[in-house]
């Protein structure tokens, strides 16, 4: 082979390589540090095998940092991210604002109709799906079967708040650091206010009437807060006003809680390897008061494509892969059915393998019993079970959460906390133009 021919071959090979490199699209995915998200990062070989021309760059951040950063980027059309991990709160607001790309055109085999209606409903605006659910959750009662048995009680599958109080009283032994109930007390719209808003729905309370007037001066809110404080002061752990999801998880795993009402996703943690009570945990629906609404919430961590992305097609390909039935099967084959992302697809709960997972049925029942479009006993002008899907909510709900957390810490009374909540919410809603 002469030199010219060799040079030609070499140049052709180089050009081909350069062509391949140029054809590769890199997408940046912003996500939170949750077990399911981290697991996905370890299973990317499957995606690369199916999509050799797409490379994924992960940006994993703490939830609040991620929320702030993504909000800034999307509002300024910075275009830093191609796929966002966002919650049920952001999707309707951002979808309505035109900040997200619609996903109704995902491939037919992705099977949009298979999504759980309650979850899909929270991610849809005017018939357009703006985010694909990666995992969904509600809240439920996790309780210690051994302590209930020792107290001679049986937990109903659908308990009332009176059942919960009776069980908490029976399981409390403060000398042995055994507390009947652990609930969120840490201030924050996604912390104590997520729990209390969902709880208030079952007491007939609501954030606003149909004219957007705050309702903290009404009896149902007083009943909700009084019941919560009595329950926690009598049967809760000390320092509960500092406890959020992770603090209560630690307490429950170490055997200090008789009951814990929180996210269904916690079921795999309390029955997992780090739990000292893994084999003693039972599950029940979140409590009600006989008014037709249960105190459980609805949330989904979902994948969305921001309108500022320049790589929409590649981003949609990734979203379709990560939220597909095939991905669920992939996780099951590698990590077992108990570890698949829960709460998004009807087909998962029809699968006999998944039905044998202890918390599967209760998770589905909890999700199905939450209705984000009609969250309260009386009609309301907003969407959202444990939040109100308006942009201003994060700010004033955290301020209200601080008042309620202070009441739990004993530094303010129920009446004063409710009065302050009413005043500050009214001020913010007037400023935002909801109240004329």
């Amino acid at each position: 082979m002469n030199k010219t021919l060799r040079a030609l071959f070499g140049a052709t090979a180089l050009l081909t390589l350069a062509g391949v490199a140029a054809a590769e699209t890199t997408i940046t995915v912003a996500t939170v540090n949750n077990g399911d998200m981290i697991r996905m990062q370890g299973l990317m070989d499957d995606f690369y095998a199916k999509n050799p021309d797409i490379k994924v760059e992960w940006v994993t951040l703490e939830e609040n940092v991620l929320r702030q950063k993504v909000t800034t980027d999307i509002a300024t059309k910075g275009g830093q991210f191609d796929v966002l991990t966002i919650g049920t709160y952001e999707v309707p607001i951002w979808g309505k604002a035109g900040w997200l790309v619609g996903l109704n055109d995902l491939p037919a085999e992705w099977d949009k109709a298979d999504l759980l209606p309650a979850i899909a409903g929270g991610l849809t605006v005017d018939g357009e799906l703006y985010a694909a659910p990666f995992y969904g959750e509600s809240s439920m009662v996790m309780y210690r079967k051994d302590l209930m048995e020792a107290a001679g009680l049986t937990m109903p599958e659908a308990p009332t708040w009176a059942d919960i109080k009776a069980a908490a009283a029976a399981m409390t032994n403060k000398d042995a650091e055994q507390y009947g109930i652990c609930l969120r007390g840490k201030a924050g719209w996604g912390e104590n206010m997520a729990f209390l808003t969902a709880m208030s729905n079952s007491f007939g309370a609501k954030w606003f009437d149909e004219n957007w007037n705050p309702q903290f001066d009404q009896q149902p809110w007083k009943d909700t807060l009084s019941f919560y404080l009595d329950l926690m002061n009598e049967y809760g752990p000390p320092g509960a006003s500092n406890n959020g999801f992770n603090e209560n998880l630690a307490l429950f795993q170490q055997g200090h809680c008789g009951m814990w009402i929180d996210a269904t996703v916690a079921a795999s943690f309390v029955t997992g390897k780090d739990s000292t009570v893994a084999d003693k945990v039972g599950f029940a629906l979140a409590p009600d008061n006989g008014l037709g609404k249960r105190g459980n919430w609805l949330w989904a961590w979902s994948l969305a494509v921001p309108a500022g992305s320049a790589k929409v097609d590649a981003a949609k390909t990734f979203v379709a892969w990560a939220t597909s039935k095939e991905y669920t099967a992939l996780v099951a084959s590698k990590e077992g059915w108990a570890n698949v992302p829960p709460g998004t697809r009807t087909s998962l709960y029809a699968n006999p393998d998944y039905q044998s997972v202890p918390f599967a049925k209760m998770t589905l029942d909890s999700i199905n019993s939450a209705d984000p479009t009609q969250p309260t006993v009386d009609p309301v002008p907003y969407v959202g079970v444990q939040f109100v899907a308006i942009p201003e909510f994060q700010g004033f709900a955290t301020a209200v959460g601080q008042q309620f957390s202070a009441a739990l810490a004993g530094t303010t009374s129920v009446d004063d906390a409710l009065a302050a909540a009413q005043e500050l919410t009214k001020t913010e809603m007037t400023k935002a133009g909801y109240i004329k």
């Binding site: 940046t28 540090n33 940006v59 951040l61 939830e63 300024t76 830093q80 996604g190 996210a263």
Partner: protein
């Protein structure tokens, strides 16, 4: 007459100093201890945690999940880059304020310092828009510029304080010997102020290394430094203390070692001119 310091007094002061030192170091010590525990043990009560099994599993997981070296190199580049750029700007500025002050020099110094009093989040959106338009988002260059700007007031102030201690007559003598402005700053002032410049440099490196607002807001992956490496290990749902502690230990170790070896220089620089 010099006051006689008794042995008891000396011992008491030493013990108090050690206690204060221990209290300041305690959070770092606890982070390091927690990083050698499993997630299950890390959430136990303090005594139970200390007596539980020691393990390197969190370090293993962190290594497996993240490219530490990439974050580390970004931290090195932006800390050193912003420090050098700040010194290049601040040395002439501090010289001017120290040796040829104007009527408004003190006001100017106060104004510079006042920019540090503004909450960073107040200018987040305009900064973000400027970075977007100049193509500086997620770049080391962008971070070097922003960290230089936010630390510049402190650098100028520190250098100004050091330069004020240098007798102006020496610079005058250099001028009489024919030194121009460049030579005066480069060959007379700078060598005399080396201890001050060195401590300013060290402090600026530490400040830039630890800066966690702009470095988190303006980067995604290519220029992300160790602050983002740490932030990626906090979890809203699930235990994370041990892994977060391991990531934090790995992120602060280089700067702790630098601080340890340069502590004499740092203390000397920070207390310069404090006692006359």
């Amino acid at each position: 007459m010099a006051r006689k310091i008794t042995q008891t007094r000396k011992t008491t002061v030493t013990v108090i100093a050690w206690i204060i030192g221990f209290l300041i170091f305690f959070p770092i010590l606890w982070t390091i201890l927690m990083s050698f525990k499993s997630e299950g043990d890390a959430i136990k009560a303090p005594l139970a945690m200390l007596t539980s099994h020691w393990t390197l599993e969190s370090y293993g997981e962190v290594q497996e999940r993240s490219n530490y070296l990439r974050f580390f190199m970004n931290s090195v580049v932006i800390s050193l880059g912003s420090t050098i750029l700040a010194l290049v700007i601040a040395i002439p500025a501090a010289w001017s304020m120290a040796f040829v002050p104007g009527r408004r020099t003190k006001d100017l110094l106060m104004w510079m310092l006042s920019t540090k009093m503004m909450p960073a989040v107040g200018v987040l959106v305009p900064m973000y828009l400027m970075f977007r338009d100049f193509g500086l988002l997620d770049t080391r260059t962008g971070l070097v510029v922003v960290l230089t700007l936010i630390n510049l007031p402190i650098v100028v102030w520190m250098l100004y304080t050091y330069f004020k201690e240098i007798p102006g007559e020496i610079l005058e003598a250099a001028r009489m010997d024919g030194a121009n402005l460049r030579s005066e700053i480069l060959y007379v002032l700078t060598p005399m102020a080396v201890p001050g410049i060195a401590s300013t440099m060290l402090l600026n490196i530490i400040l830039a290394w630890n800066e966690a607002f702009w470095t988190l807001q303006l980067t995604t992956s290519d220029a992300a430094p160790l602050t983002q490496f740490i932030a990626s290990y906090s979890s809203p749902e699930g235990l994370f203390y041990a892994k977060l502690s391991a990531a934090s230990t790995m992120a602060i170790a280089p700067i702790l070692i630098l601080g340890w070896f340069s502590q004499k220089q740092l203390v000397r620089g920070l207390t310069f001119g404090a006692v006359k």
